[in-house]
Amino acid sequence: MVLLTRKIEFAASHLYHNPDFSPEENRRVFGKCNNPHGHGHNYTLEVTVAGEPDPVTGMVLDLKDLKEILEREVMQRMDHRFLNYEVPELAGQIPTCENIARVIWNLLDPKIKQGKLHRVRLYETPDLFADCYRNGSERAQA
């Protein structure tokens, strides 16, 4: 098996706020991330696909195809957007790195037809990231 990784970057804004919490609770739990006007990050996304290289092309999957999938599913949806208000998949969720990574996993997984999505790593800053993997039992069946 070979792992192939492609990286893209997008810029987006967000804020953390749970309407079920009091204003004090929101500030205590979310700190600076609770600023009502939001704030932004340059996100770096690494998408890793696992598979056997095709004997004819030598490729696990065509990087051009992966690039198009990432452009359509991630860039067009999230780049230069306010994640809370403009990304329907995140509606009603706190757009933490964990939740955004999970949304990206769910968007990409059904679209990758050659090889299998192995890992989604989303960096919110160089010091903070979230990883998504196929869960153990699912992986065994994969």
């Binding site: 998949e89 009603g92 706190i94 933490t96 939740n99 996993w105 979230a130």
Partner: protein
């Protein structure tokens, strides 16, 4: 809040990077001077030397729908600060950390000691750690986690 895309088929981990600077000397008192020099080279310099270490900590758990978080970063940062950064940063690993009184503070052993210190983190499961000693050398340790390196 909407648990949204929560889906048990996907496992999510949170990764956080920290930095500390410390000195060490690689020396095994059971070996001869010649053997120490041959084995550890420059790292055996009797006065020690230092590194800017980068520590990566990966934890997993259920994403709390109320906060969107596996663990609150303030809790993780506080725990790592108390257990690792405060006792290790700007210290001599050989002289200031009890665990290295009888163990050579290679980065392999440093990984094992840091993992032992972070394992009891109460808010999420410690999956693995990675310690970068220089931009060319890094080490990972997952304890006895069965799929610690696989996510």
């Amino acid at each position: 809040m909407n648990p949204g895309s929560h889906n048990s088929a996907v496992k999510t981990e949170l990764g956080r990077r920290y930095r500390f600077s410390a000195s060490h000397r690689l020396h095994n008192p059971d070996l001869s001077e010649g053997e120490n020099t041959r084995l550890y080279g420059k790292c055996n310099n009797p006065y020690g030397h230092g590194h800017n270490y980068i520590l990566e900590v990966l934890v997993s758990g259920k994403i709390d729908p109320a906060t969107g978080m596996i663990a609150n970063l303030a809790d993780l940062d506080g725990f790592v600060e108390r257990e690792v950064l405060e006792p290790f940063d700007h210290k001599s690993l050989n002289e200031d950390v009890d665990a290295f009184r009888g163990t050579v503070p290679t980065t392999e052993n440093l990984c094992i000691e840091i993992f032992r210190r972070l394992k009891p983190f109460p808010k999420a499961k410690l999956e693995r750690i990675r310690v970068q000693e220089t931009s060319n050398n890094s080490f990972e340790y997952a304890g006895d986690n069965p799929d610690g390196f696989e996510g």
